[in-house]
Amino acid sequence: MSSGLIAPRRPGLRPDRASFAQALRAEWVKFRTVRGWVIAMIVAALITVFLGIFAAGNLSIGCQSRPNGPVLTGRACTPHFPIGPDGEAVVDSYYFAHQTLTGNGSITVRVASLTGLYSSNGKGGQNPLAGMTKGLVPWAKAGIIVTDGMRPGSAYAAVMVTGAHGVRMQDNYVHDTAGLTGQATATSPRWLRLIRSGDTITGYDSADGSHWSLVGSTVLTGLRHSVQAGLFVTSPIYTVTAQSFGSSTTHGGPSQATAAFDDISRRGTWPAKAWIGTEVGTGAASPGTGIGYVRVTPGAVTVSGSGDIAPLATGPGASGPVSVFEQPLTGLFAGLIAIVVVAAMFFTVEYRRGLIRTTLAASPRRGRVLAAKATVVGAVAFVVGLVASVLAITLGLPRQRNQGSYVLPASMLTELRVIVGTAALVAITAVMAVAIGAILRRSAAAVTAAIVVIVLPFLLAVTVLPVSVAAWVLRLTPAAGFAIEQSIPHYPQVSSVISPADGSYPLPPWGGFAVLCAWAVVALAGAYVLLRRRDA
């Protein structure tokens, strides 16, 4: 096998390409003939899979089918959530004062006030509203909505005032556009308008009822000819999260919002009946109190409701045991440490035994040696990462479901991105460790530096640091790369704490991965410059 090292250049190849192939081959032979490194890579894959299965199989879920009933575990506890038009799990519960709109038409209202109540301890008892504190949760919503139907998960478009985020137009659970800022009060009310024209719904807002501005427009493909339209109010769970060393504690409870609508005008084909009040999406999947009403007085309609119309998020505020697709990849950290050790030492041991001189004599272009080493380690790490993540997911997910956890659905492409992205994350991390090894030249220093820049920021972010600081750490350090594993996006229109432990990161998946790649490029550039400048 070693004949390749001394074989004459093959005539067909350009000399520089041939010698890169030789350098690559030499590095590959070095890698695969050191038994310890091969064993370490296999151990890295095994430990990743084993710890992942362990984490997926130990979610510890218990539930009761009725108050004071026997405690159940396993699949009996799996909650069921409605699925939105785009395939994601959603929360869809609100109080709806509605009528049937046939064909095209519009509705215009004035929101004269929005007030609310929330529970900070979750102790509801017979009447959840008793013992609540006055105040609005930030994403309490009141406004007008056009929906395909009242089955939870139906396609919809709505324009609304919110507790603390001004006027918004939202549609199909995941889309959110901002309109006027400020709260709706008696002194500064908000006018809202929705126009349906075929499949297109357009939302407007106004601060005075005469000057209107466009908030947004959306196409709800396949919207029925007869839709339900009217006034809605909802108010999500109130949560306060306190993060302390090694754990975070969340307390909170349901909330309720009440809005006064007046100045209601409609165009199009509406029945001559009064508003029909319906509680949409009650039951176990609802985060609401289930106590809503519509009260019609001459010239005004008051609606009160609780719940949310939003994508389902993990973490505090999730109504039931919910977990994410990437949960079985938890063991990756352990495997990653083993891979980082091998990758850094793949360069540093050359210096310990003086092998570097032989290496550079055989391949004098030093950048080529660095590239060959990085390629070999990156490719091996990619394969190890791919095998480990495929095994961890295929073995872990069924256990996760058997525990009674609802695994948030993600599209096929997203699942593919999580699995392949994890392998790429492992590969880039390993390449960075090779570069750190080339820069520092000593095993202990290189391994320490690699672990400290990759694992430690993540550790600090999920344990000691306050949430806002942790978010910056996960944006700027190489640990940002773990965002590639995120299967459920972080939606700003859902109050949730950004917590990697619940599968949410401050950067989007590819953005975080790009940050890691940038670090790897900087490390490689540093290694290249130092390798060329220094004596070996």
């Binding site: 302390s244 090694g246 352990a334 050790v341 095993s443 430690l456």
Partner: protein
């Protein structure tokens, strides 16, 4: 007349010379001094950065243990301590010095304990500076960020019992990390592998614990792995800790003792 073969030297015989030899080995190269300086500087800098980034506005209640927050840098400083201890052992193997050392002092366990004493002593001294620096930066920064004693946050004076415990405990923590790393290094002999395993022991459990939902395993990991040692930094909510401050440090001490014992056994019964 007693023949020389019958003389039974006490077990500590020659240990002063060994201590001196170990001290000479560490103090005559520049590496350890730089690493000790880095322990102080990095611990202080990371602690100060954590202080600077954390605020508690007047209208909020913050469940932050201010003294513990000001000691955040220990999380990073311990990596440098581990590196120092690992190198103290592994450099002997990579340079072949170990044969000279063992020829001069064939009692291998005494060599290891002398090395452990010198390294731990140095780490404790540097750790004291690192902890003091961290507490001083906390005392300077945190009250201005809303963490005042008047609002119930811990006092940054060593006369305040819990703060003293956190400070002394953190210094001892770093000393125990040195012993743990030394033991691991004596077992594995290779610096890269040793530091990888040591940092894995220190960093993996807290990361893994953030993801594990099972309360039984969660509290087992909190109580019985080396991460238990950091409970000694708690000054508030001590009753609700998974394991008491000193008990937690005790758990780490058991890990360190086990590692150094195993390292000693390997050193004693294996060819160098």
């Amino acid at each position: 007349m007693i023949s020389a073969t019958h003389v039974r030297y006490p077990i500590w015989a020659g240990s002063r010379g060994v201590l001196r030899a170990e001290w000479t080995k560490l103090s005559t190269v520049s590496g350890p001094a730089w690493l000790l300086a880095a322990v102080v500087a990095v611990t202080g800098a990371v602690s100060a950065a954590a202080d600077a980034a954390t605020r508690c506005p007047a209208n909020l209640t913050c469940s932050v243990d201010a003294v513990k927050l000001s000691l955040t840098g220990i999380q990073v400083g311990q990596a440098i301590v581990a590196m120092l201890a690992v190198l103290a052992v592994c450099n002997e193997y990579s340079t072949g010095m170990i044969r000279v050392t063992l020829a001069a002092m064939p009692r291998r366990l005494i060599v290891l304990s002398a090395k452990a004493s010198v390294v731990t002593g140095l780490v404790v001294v540097a750790g004291a500076f690192a902890v003091l620096g961290s507490l001083v930066s906390g005392a300077l920064i945190l009250p201005g960020h809303g963490f005042t004693a008047a609002r119930g946050f811990g006092e940054f004076t060593l006369t305040y019992g819990p703060t003293l415990r956190a400070a002394v405990g953190s210094v001892l923590y770093l000393g125990l990390i040195a012993v743990l790393s030394l033991g691991v290094a004596a077992m594995l002999r290779d610096s890269g592998v040793s530091i990888g395993l040591t940092l894995g022991l220190l960093y993996l459990f807290p990361v893994f614990n953030a993801f594990i939902g099972n309360q039984t395993w969660h509290s087992r990991i909190e109580r019985y792995t080396p991460m238990a040692g950091l409970n000694v930094q708690a000054t508030t909510g001590v009753r609700s800790l998974p394991i008491g401050p000193w008990e937690g440090l005790g758990v780490l001490a058991i890990w360190a003792a086990a590692a150094v014992l195993a390292g000693g056994m390997f050193l004693r019964f294996r060819d160098a």
